[in-house]
Amino acid sequence: MTNNISDFLIANLEKEIEEGMTIVQGTSTFIPLIATKLAQKGKKINLIGGFMMNPDINPIIPSTFSSYNYSNGKSYLGLSGFLDMLQNKKVDLEFLRPAQVDEFGNINNTVIGEYKKPTVRLPGGMGVDDVMTFIKKIILYIPNHSRKVFVKKVDFVTAHGWDKGKGPDKIITNMCVFEFPNKKVTLTAINPEYTIEDVKRETGFKFRISADMKNMIVPDEEMKKRIQESDPLNIRDLEIKEKREEVLKKFR
C-alpha cells in the first residue's frame, strides 16, 4: 500500500463527522482522535473528549483519557455526566475498533475462544454495547482488514449487531466500506488500490455488493500535511502494528 493507512483512515473517518453532531472520543482510539481534531477546524461540532465538553485536542500522551491531551475544556461532564447524556440519546457519533466483527456487525473485544478459559484474553470492550444501544451513528474502523478480524461468527458478543437490534452503521477499513441497508452487510465503497476480489479474499463471510459502488477518499498531499500538523508525534500510528515501535521509540 503506497498510502499511509492511518492517514487514509483519518481522511475517510473525518468525512463522516457532520456539522452539528455531538461526538464522543473512545478509549485507545487514536485514529478517530486525529480525525476529530481535523473536523473541529472546519465544522461546528460538539466533542466529548476525556469527559470534558468541547476541549481542544493536543495529542501528546498515548492514552485517550489523559487530561493532558485536552485543553480549554468548556465544562467537566465526568463519566456519570457522559453516561446520563448517552442514555438520554444525546450523543450522535462514535468510532469503535473491533478485534472481531461478523456479518451482522456483532463486535468482539473480550475473548478469543471460550469465555471462562480463553485462548486469548483481550483488553475488554469498555462501553461498546452501551454506545451501540444509545448512539445514533456507530462507525467501526479497521486498519488491518483480514479474515482474522472479519469472521463468520464472533467468539463473544461484546456489542450487539443487526441480528439483535440496531448494529453499526458503517465499517470503514484499509480496503473498503461496508454498510447495512436492510440489515444486510453490503460493500458500498472501495479503496482504489484494491479490487472486490481482494476484499472477498480477506473477509470471512459473504457480502452484497452495492450497485452504486464508490471510491474511498485517498488523501492528497495537502490533507497529509494537515494530518501531520495535527499529530506531530504520530500518535495515530500506535494503531498500526508495523509502525507502533517507531512511535513508542519517541517515548523511550
Binding site: F65, S66, S80, L83, Y115, G124, T158
Partner: protein
C-alpha cells in the same frame, strides 16, 4: 465534623482485609492510586476482588503478587502502550476470574450502591454476551411500558482506594479534572481511602468533588499515582511504563 483520619502509607496493611472487594479509581494510566496498591501488594492480604472501570498497572501489581481472585472491569490494558501480559496470562491459565463490565454496568452498580437501592434498570447490556456472563445482570420487565430491560445489581465495595489532587483539613476531596465515578464509588463503599498530592487548609464548597462524609482515611503522598499520571501535577511516565511492559 466527621471522623476522618490522616494516616501514613504503611498503615494500609492494617486496614485492608483479605477476601474483600476493593473499588479502584482512575482510568488506565491516569490517576491510579499506585502508592496504596504497592502497600497492598506487599501486605499479607489476599483473595481480593477488584472493581474498576479501566485498569492497568494497578491490576498488574496485585495479580503479579497473587493477591487477586477476581477482576471486575470494562478494560484492562495500557491503551496505546500495549496489553497487560500479566492479566492476560492469569486469565488464560485460569489463575484469576475476569468478570467483564460495560461502562454503564460499572456506573449503575456504583450509583445504585451510592443511592441505597437494590438495582437500577437500563436498556443497554441485554443484547450482549456480557449480560450472560455477569451475575449482576438480570432480565426485568418495565412495569410501565412492558419493555424488557437489564436490571443491574447495586454494589457496596468493602473498600475504595482513590487518588486525588487535593484534600482539605476537614477531609473534603478535590478531583481536579473530569472524574470516573469516584464520587459514586466513595458513596457506595464501606471504607474510603484516599491518597492525595496535597492537603490544603480549606477547599471552597464548589471545589469539593467528594464531601468528607464519604471519606474515612486520607494519606498525603506526593506522586501517589506515579508512574500513572495525575493531571496538573505530572503526566504518566511513559518510559517507566514501557519498561514495565517489556519485562
Amino acid at each position: 465534623m466527621k471522623n476522618m483520619k490522616i494516616i501514613q502509607l504503611n498503615q494500609i496493611k492494617d486496614i485492608i482485609t483479605s477476601n474483600s472487594t476493593i473499588a479502584i479509581g482512575g482510568f488506565t494510566i491516569n490517576r491510579k492510586p499506585i502508592s496504596i496498591i504497592k502497600e497492598i501488594a506487599e501486605s499479607d492480604t489476599n483473595n481480593l476482588s477488584l472493581y474498576t472501570l479501566a485498569g492497568s498497572l494497578d491490576i498488574d501489581l496485585l495479580v503479579e503478587k497473587s493477591k487477586v481472585k477476581k477482576v471486575m472491569a470494562a478494560y484492562v490494558g495500557y491503551e496505546g502502550l500495549g496489553i497487560s501480559k500479566i492479566v492476560r496470562h492469569a486469565v488464560e491459565s485460569g489463575g484469576i476470574i475476569f468478570e467483564d463490565l460495560t461502562e454503564i454496568l460499572y456506573y449503575l452498580r456504583l450509583r445504585g450502591g451510592a443511592a441505597g437501592v437494590p438495582f437500577i434498570p437500563t436498556s443497554s447490556i441485554i443484547k450482549s454476551d456480557i449480560f450472560k456472563i455477569n451475575p449482576a445482570c438480570k432480565k426485568i420487565k418495565d412495569p410501565f411500558t412492558k419493555e424488557e430491560l437489564c436490571a443491574v445489581q447495586s454494589i457496596n465495595p468493602d473498600f475504595s482506594i482513590i487518588h486525588a489532587q487535593k484534600a482539605d483539613r476537614d477531609g473534603n476531596i478535590l478531583i481536579d479534572e473530569p472524574d470516573f465515578c469516584e464520587k459514586e464509588m466513595a458513596q457506595a463503599s464501606k471504607i474510603r481511602i484516599f491518597s492525595v498530592e496535597k492537603i490544603v487548609r480549606k477547599l471552597k464548597p464548589r471545589e469539593i468533588t467528594i464531601p468528607s462524609q464519604f471519606v474515612d482515611y486520607i494519606i498525603p503522598v506526593k506522586k501517589g499515582a506515579y508512574p500513572t499520571g495525575c493531571y496538573k501535577n505530572y503526566s504518566p511516565d511513559i518510559k517507566y511504563i514501557l519498561n514495565h511492559l517489556a519485562k
